[in-house]
């Protein structure tokens, strides 16, 4: 397996490099293999989200090299799926229509959208079924609970079968039970499809449950201060989060976060 996402000594300051502004990201270097699930944890406001924006090409770095699939990132990538803390579904569209949105607008699909509509509808319904939203296809977003909206948002991020999924605290606004349920949903999707994932979170249990590897990011300016492989067997279950090795890993990460916060 080769490097899919590579960052070399990347530094980024909002509004470009200034004299006295603190960079959001400083000298970040990381390598993510194709199909790998990586989590970034760190104190809030530490530049984790900025890293995602750099990888996706939505925000250019001031210094350093960013490569995705071997190509330097110079403009927004087009094979990325994204989901955020806020589900940002369009309220005037049904769940199904929301999921189809990327196919209507993305560079690769918009030309053939009408022609392949039946096929796309099939894909979207199947995907909604996988995340447990069967029967809610024609519901409006406001009729869905927060957890269901977030499921639909995940489907929207995955409908165009992106190679790279970027998740910015997608479960942070949900209650604990729903959140843990969605860990399972996301893990299932990932195990079926094996896309590459970068998950930004400040929930250490979430990071250990989902990721192959966890990076700890320092507080601003965000630097990667620690990297930890998570060698636990998959599929991981909620039961396994109480196992000793799981708990140890969480503690280990907590120690590093503690150092970062104290520094």
């Amino acid at each position: 397996m080769t490097a899919f996402v590579e960052l070399e000594q990347v530094t980024m300051t909002y509004g470009g490099p200034g004299i006295d502004t603190v960079p959001a990201v400083a000298d970040a270097s990381l390598t993510i293999k194709q199909g790998e699930f990586v989590a970034m944890v760190g104190p809030s406001g530490c530049g984790k989200s900025s890293l995602l924006k750099i990888v996706s090409g939505l925000m250019p770095a001031d210094k350093g090299i960013t490569r995705v699939a071997g190509e330097p990132v110079t403009r927004p990538l087009t094979m990325v799926g994204m989901a955020f803390q806020n589900a940002t579904l369009l309220p005037w569209r049904t769940t199904l229509e929301n999921v189809l949105l990327p196919l209507e607008v993305s560079r690769t699909h918009r030309g053939s959208f009408r022609r392949k509509k039946a096929e796309h509808l099939e894909t979207a319904r199947a995907l909604l079924k996988t995340v447990g939203l069967e029967g809610y296809e024609d519901h409006a977003p406001y009729e869905l609970s927060g957890g269901m909206q977030q499921r639909a948002s995940l489907c929207r991020a995955l409908i165009h079968a992106p190679d790279l999924l970027l998740l910015d605290e997608p479960f942070a606004a949900l209650d604990a039970f729903t959140r843990e349920e969605l860990w399972g949903v996301l893990q299932d999707l990932w195990m079926q499809r094996k896309f590459t994932v970068i998950l930004v979170t400040h929930d250490l249990r979430e990071a250990v449950y989902l990721a192959d590897r966890v990076y700890v990011v320092s507080k601003r300016p965000g630097r990667i201060v620690y990297e930890r492989p998570i060698p636990l067997a998959r599929p991981r279950t909620l039961e396994s989060t109480f196992d000793q090795d799981f708990v140890d890993l969480v503690h280990k990460l907590r120690d590093h976060i503690g150092e970062v916060r104290a520094s």
């Binding site: 939505l58 369009l90 309220p91 005037w92 607008v105 690769t108 409006a140 165009h160």
Partner: protein
């Protein structure tokens, strides 16, 4: 509970009229200062042919001016909201223009177009134009940054973002502005008719007040108010029909 809410506006309106009637009678207010509502309604019945004719004229003039405001307001709002540069360039001009009392531009319009219908249409247009532009532009300009990121990371074209997300998203703002704009349009028309008109409710009321037929003036005011409320209700219904989703499936859904 709901029936109370539905009854409330009627009760409040009737209450106001009763209060007005009682105060006038209790303090024996002379009719040429403040006529009672019953005297105003009597005047309305007495002069109904003249009122009807002028009210109809005012109504269609207002609708033409309002229609222009909808077309141009929507177009300018979309352009303004879609581009941050245009937004910052045009906004101060719009605010400045909106701050000018429209009564001050009627004489100018009369110089350009003569006394009559065109200045009234243009006054209705200029006064009702602003809320539409501002609302549509706001709806477009306040697109969630996360949603913008999702779309940009798909390689979506600006025009797609505008048509599939921006425009539908600004529609609740647009329909909300129509309710306000249509009532303002009546104000514009009547101002123009009062300052320089030869027909319409403004002209009628000016003529009536110059001969101290104050109940007729009040009859005119009531008719204008009724037309304003009527059109407001029409646009409430239009709003619910087209952007019902914005009401989150509450009792309007």
């Amino acid at each position: 509970m709901i029936s109370k809410i539905k009854l409330a506006p009627w009760l409040a309106t009737i209450g106001l009229f009763v209060f007005w009637e009682v105060v006038c009678r209790l303090f024996s207010v002379p009719e040429f200062i403040l006529p009672t509502p019953s005297a105003s309604i009597a005047a309305m019945i007495e002069y109904w042919p003249a009122i009807w004719q002028n009210a109809f004229y005012t109504f269609w003039v207002t609708m033409v001016g309002f229609a222009l405001a909808v077309i141009f307001g929507l177009a300018l709002g979309l352009v303004t909201g879609a581009s941050a540069v245009v937004y910052s360039a045009i906004y101060p001009l719009l605010v400045g223009f909106n701050s000018i009392p429209k009564v001050a531009i009627v004489p100018v319009l009369v110089v350009w177009f003569g006394i009559g219908t065109i200045p009234a249409i243009l006054t209705a247009f200029t006064i009702s134009f602003f809320p539409i532009v501002v609302n549509v532009a706001t709806g477009l300009a306040t697109l969630e940054p996360e949603l913008k990121d999702v779309l940009r990371s798909l390689g979506a074209r600006k025009i797609d973002i505008l048509l599939k997300v921006g425009v539908p998203r600004s529609m609740p703002y647009f329909f909300a502005s129509l309710k306000v704009a249509v009532t303002l349009a009546f104000v514009g028309t009547v101002i123009s008719e009062t300052v320089a008109g030869n027909a319409g409710m403004g002209h009628l009321m000016l003529t009536a007040s110059s001969s101290f037929r104050v109940p007729l003036v009040f009859a005119g005011l009531l008719v204008i108010a009724a037309m304003g409320v009527g059109m407001y209700v029409v646009f409430v219904l239009v709003e619910r029909r087209f952007v019902g989703w914005a009401f989150r499936g509450g009792d309007n859904g």
